[in-house]
């Protein structure tokens, strides 16, 4: 299959999730004698194109009208490039960007789309995929009919391919400003600055739940533990609803899906919607005062206690021990 991978980027590098999506596409291409190509959209794409070209050939759609990811314009370009290049498969990492933009492109391209794919195989000339349903309680085996096929994959289920020895070709695609739809005007993005890694990309995630009473406590306990472990912070829906954490912290069925090396659930009960977002983490530690909380059913280590007592002690002990998570710079 000829695969087009829609990249998500910060202007400098392609996001880790998109590299995982490329990993999926590269495997499909290898099994089917196909190829992989990036589609990168935005403005001033030199740096990110060079980064991407270390992995696969690049089509770059660079235009001031594409500076912000507006779904109508982006989807129009994806649609156009998919048809022109006669791609069989359009792939992206399952993120809010892809759900919005690639979902709309899927509608323009005939609707053969599978979201959140976690496994695949090539069988009797069909791409057979698996995707979770019902908050991850059920795994569905699906096939798509129609071409092209549109797939978003869970980055947690795929690995980035090895970089190439020589960078691949970078081609720019023409953007016709006249025909680009302009029904959506992008105004602003409000983010809270943080020194911590992104929760979807971190190797260690510490998440807080309703046990945490306010923003200061979240920063002191959850932020403090994340810093002591060198990780990111996340939360359950309860804290987002309460205005204690921003929406992008929400881990779960309808938030972010994570699978870090270590996930610490602090004062989180373990509702199915939360478990859906973290139960595939490599190691799960739960701290909760209720020994019957469902979070312990998915945990490797459980500690029954009051987070207001346990967590400060944990932070202190981690700080006291030899610096294993932040090795000193080599002198």
């Amino acid at each position: 299959m000829k695969c087009l991978v829609v990249a998500e980027h910060d202007g400098a590098t392609v996001r880790a999730g998109s590299l995982a999506a490329l990993g999926f596409a590269a495997d499909v291409a290898a099994q089917t004698g196909g190829s992989t190509t990036w589609l990168i959209l935005g403005h001033e794409l030199n740096d990110v194109s060079q980064h991407a070209a270390r992995y696969a050939a690049v089509l770059a759609g660079d235009h001031p009208l594409l500076a912000a990811p507006t779904a109508d314009r982006y989807a129009a370009v994806i649609d156009d490039q998919t048809r022109r290049g006669e791609f069989d498969l359009v792939v992206a990492a399952a993120s809010t960007f892809a759900k919005d933009v690639v979902g709309r492109a899927g509608g323009l391209l005939g609707g053969a789309m599978a979201s959140d794919v976690v496994a695949h195989r090539w069988e009797n000339d069909r791409l057979v995929m698996q995707r979770p349903m019902y908050a991850g309680a059920v795994l569905a085996t699906v096939v798509l009919s129609g071409s092209p096929q549109i797939v978003t994959v869970r980055p947690t289920a795929y690995a980035a391919p090895q970089p190439r020895t020589e960078p691949a070709e970078i081609a720019t695609v023409g953007i016709d400003a006249e025909t680009l739809p302009q029904h959506i005007e992008w105004l602003e993005l409000e983010t809270r600055p943080t020194h911590r890694p992104d929760v979807s990309e971190a190797q260690i995630v510490v998440s807080g739940g309703r046990a945490i009473r306010d923003r200061d406590d979240f920063e002191r306990l959850i932020g403090g533990l994340a810093d002591a472990l060198g990780g990111a912070t996340g939360s359950s829906r309860a804290l987002v609803d309460a205005g204690i954490t921003p929406n992008e912290f929400q881990v779960g069925q309808t938030g972010k899906i994570v699978a870090p090396e270590l996930y610490c659930a602090v004062g989180i009960s373990g509702a199915v919607q939360h478990l859906a977002g973290m139960k595939n983490s490599k190691m799960i530690v739960a701290i909760n005062q209720d020994a019957d909380a469902p979070i312990f059913e998915v945990a490797d280590y459980g500690l029954v206690g009051d987070v207001y007592q346990v967590v400060p002690e944990l932070i202190q002990r981690l700080k006291d021990e030899p610096d294993r998570h932040h090795p000193p710079p080599e002198s």
């Binding site: 759900k99 919005d100 609707g111 991850g136 029904h183 602003e188 409000e190 312990f296 280590y301």
Partner: protein
């Protein structure tokens, strides 16, 4: 202003989902069903818009499915929808076909706004709103956290992975709801009783001149289970010790 609110019947998420031994479908016989929570948020928002506009708004709830899906339409009516429409479809349609049927309903009803859930919590596809907007060539604002009418359309704050993004879209538009948009009201007993008596329009696919075009075929379902067993530690010191050994 006319607002179309697609509503889906989904199993209650608090219930354990089981699959038939042959993997063909979930066992739904004794499952309680309800209105998809994101669609309830959409109905609530539509009712609030009507309240702000002194009633000059018509809210039409529509669902695609079997006769029993009328239950969820009645939930929408009890929450304040003015009319309800059932498009009878005996097999559960995939997102592409839901979007195509909704396009036909939209063309017939000419709403100014389609307000719907970002995701159905059974299939978790998160596709229909985006497909519908593409099919209609309307602007979209997905994952809405706040809506305001402005001169040239709607200003929408969107919940994205990177933070809260604000866009304006011209009308007509498709808007999909996220959790923070509002907290849906509980319908009062009187409105529930009233909704029971309200008539529900019914269409079949032929009435809408839609033929299904299958795109997503579900071949097999299986349940997943956690294989972990929890090892209990009794102190922070012991936990740090375990973590150190596991991660060396």
């Amino acid at each position: 202003m006319k607002i179309l609110v697609p509503c889906k019947r989904v199993p209650d998420a608090d219930q354990k989902i089981e699959v038939h031994p042959d993997g063909s479908a979930i066992i739904s016989a004794h499952l309680p069903f309800l209105l998809n929570p994101f669609d309830a948020i959409a109905v609530e928002e539509a009712v609030r818009i009507r309240e702000q506009r002194d009633g000059e708004t018509e809210i039409l709830a529509v669902t695609i499915g079997e006769e029993v899906c009328q239950d969820e339409l009645r939930t929408a009516l009890a929450m304040g929808a003015d009319r309800a429409l059932l498009v009878v479809c005996l097999q559960p349609p995939d997102p592409w076909n839901v979007a195509r049927i909704l396009r036909a309903v939209t063309q017939r009803e000419q709403p100014d706004l389609v307000l719907m859930g970002k995701q159905a919590v059974d299939d978790d596809s998160n596709q229909v709103g985006q497909f519908l907007a593409a099919l209609l060539d309307w602007p979209q604002a997905t994952f809405a956290s706040r809506l305001n009418f402005v001169d040239n359309g709607l200003r929408v704050a969107r919940e994205t992975d990177a933070g809260l993004e604000t866009v304006t879209v011209s009308l007509p538009a498709v808007v999909t709801t996220d959790l923070r948009l509002n907290e849906p009201r509980y319908a009062s007993l009187t409105s529930i009783l009233k909704a029971r008596k309200q008539s529900i329009d019914q269409f079949c696919l032929a009435d809408l001149a839609v033929e299904l075009e299958p795109r997503l075929e579900i071949r097999h379902l299986e349940t997943t289970a956690s294989a972990r067993s929890c090892q209990w530690v009794t102190s922070a010191a012991e936990l740090v010790d375990r973590l150190r050994r596991e991660t060396h």
